[in-house]
Amino acid sequence: MSGLLLALLLVVAAACGGDGGDGAGGAVGDEAEVDPVEAADRSGSLTFAMSYGFNSLDPHRSPNALGDALWMRPLYDRLLGVANGPDGAELVPQLATSYEVSDDGRTITFELRDDVTFHDGARFDASVVEANIERAKGPESTVASTLENLERVEVVDPTHVVFHLAEPDPALLWSLAVGTAGMMVSPEALDRDLSSEPAGSGPFTLVSASRDADVVYERWDDYWDPDAALVQELTITTVPDVNARYNGLRTDEYDAAYLTLPQAAEAEQLQSEGYHYRRQGGPSSYGILLNTDEPPLDDVRVRRAISLAVNREEISEELLSGVNPPSNQPFNEGYVGHDDGVEVPYDPEEAQRLVDEAGATGTRLEVIQQMTPPQDSLAQVVQQALEDIGFEVELTPLSSTEARPAWRRGGHHAMVTPVVGQADPSQTLAVTYLGGDNVGTPPEELVAMADEARALPLGSAEREEAYQEISAWLAENPVHVPIAQFTTVIVSRPEVVGTDNIVSIDIANLEFRRVGVTE
């Protein structure tokens, strides 16, 4: 799968059930684990096999910042981090020890650590935050859009900064924690091209970086958290073929690997040999993007019919080997806004009736088929389902690099692809339902509900309820049609400890803090 695509799918996720049980949307994996801090051999080394390589190690200027985040995480700290908590992923302190959002939601005050040194010896303080945000919003930045709402950074004293926002945007905290926009670069290196020579304060320093082979990191012994890096050497190796990653894992060449289907399903059996199998649900779903401006899809009955025509259970079980649980709403299980009460039955008769009622029977739909597994096969299943309820469907096969730009140019009815979700429901709505991947005009009602929900304080019950309401509304009045939740499967050798910490939320957000190997 391409780096770009992964980045899209994996864009930042959040809140996954970290209960270790076999929850549909939550994590599947080991139960009780030993404490990695105690068990790890600090002189050990860990090799992780990934499916694609990186472009750049510059957090603010990488052409594929989301995809490259994985390689930058060992090297750079952010103000806030993400960790698996009891109720899913949660924001945790990193360079900021705490934060406070004002009552009107327009300012966020961070208290900063005072004991942080960059690898190059420069000190971290509030003025460094200001300079970094300026860089991340600068003309050469590729991540500026994430910080759109952030108007100004005010330095109060060396350990306090205030972020002034144009409008209340609680999700900004998630953006800072999961993307690369919130990564802090040494003040000595702000003007430099960091694509090959990073300058961070993270738990590892860079030994060597090959875009096509191995990226090797070494523990930085002066790091402020002595338990963050539990291995002496960390290697992320690029192995595009999932078979090769799987075989390398079984022959001990890799300690951990990112697996996709079909090996993602097959590897579950390795648990009997002591391997750790982690499967974590993300905020994105495989599904169908619809163009609501393109008749007959401008009629909500037709969109609802499409949602009813898809047999989610069967697709999840058969086509996706049970690795991706069914998904019927914009916010997946384990994420803010998910509503357990939502039900979208498989009902082709009702679907056909709705299509008839809308006078759309026999209409030809042009559907983009993304030629990356499993979306390519999923598109064929969808084609059959839509033909069964009275449409004529023409698939346009496009490569993963061509598909999304073609979709965004408009002119197609639908695309079978990951329906991208993000850490926070407001971001999911923004990128997929209101703008971005939604090439049609969003329903007025949705716009109004989204506007109201966005400013509600992070973590509040009102916010949860407001987004649940949107989730239920969108299940009844679909804009797009989610089918099965995207999951990330990481398998590691028995000797690896702290595997629960590997998938903090998603693959691009994979982090190797508190992950080690026993002797």
């Binding site: 391409s2 780096g3 770009l4 899209l8 096999a49 694609y52 390589g53 472009n55 750049s56 200027r61 990488s62 052409p63 594929n64 910042a65 989301l66 003309p139 050469e140 930045s141 590729t142 991540v143 500026a144 859009s145 091209d193 694509s195 090959s196 090959s210 875009r211 096509d212 082979a213 191995d214 190796t237 690029t238 192995v239 595009p240 073929d241 078979n243 090769a244 990653r245 075989n247 390398g248 079984r250 022959t251 060449e253 890799y254 690099t401 061509e402 999304r404 730009p405 073609a406 965004r408």
Partner: protein
Amino acid sequence: MARVLARRVLTSIPALLGVMLVALLLLELMPGDPAEIMAGENATPEAVQMIRDDLRLDDPLYERFSRYVGGVVTGDLGESPGSGIPVWDRISEALPVTLSLGGMALVLAVVVAIPAGTWAALRRDGLADRAVAAAAAVLQAVPPFVIGLGLVIFLAVERAWLPANGYVAFADDPYEWFRHLILPATALALSAAAELARQTRGAVVDVLEQDYIRAARAKGLRDRLVIGKHVAKNAATPVVTVLGLQVGRILGGAVVVELIFGMHGFGALALNAVVTRDIVLIQGVVLVSAIAVLIANLLVDLVYVYLNPRSRA
């Protein structure tokens, strides 16, 4: 010989220029704006414009072409936008892997195929001939990745006799270098060997029917001498031609085989270039592949000259 070499090198230049033009045209032929594609979906207009300036996409084609040719001549294949890494650095990092793999595959193919083909020809229509023909047919039909996967599962994963993945530089550890290459080189060599064996058999059979062979035998020369001296040299021409063609095929096959064996070679680089939409790198990969095939053809031509003095004219 030197004159032949000079002439062949000169005639390769137009081909090389053609390849460079095609490589450059890749940018033009892509649907959409190359700068936008390379910049990624979330890029600001400024970032797109920077790539556009970097690649000088606004210049006329002939200017870009002459600049590209000038760069290639001085060993500069450009830089990947956004990373600032010279393309040549990445290619030169990957080339030793593929050269080792391809070289060993070629050696393996020759070592297996030429004796097998000769043996089959000498026992024409006998059991050996049929066996070689059958094996060749099967091996030619099975794609290298199937053979590769089979080898990995049986010899690396289930039995741990050989490593399943990776590559160790010869300079670091010659023994491990060899061990890591056995499986991928075998996977790559088998279909080449099959074709080579068939060609060898055909060529040897042809030569064996020639009058001069009959004369040599009638003269009382021993079989070993007849085959070693008269048959081998005369049958070699078609075999060398096929061998030359295999270089291109092995290079193509290496893309898949390197993937299966997790080797960071030229094939994996080519794939990564496509996946990351790094058009400058794709151009470099196309150019270097073309040069490799041109060099192979050149070597074949030189061997012809050696084998057949008449072609020196």
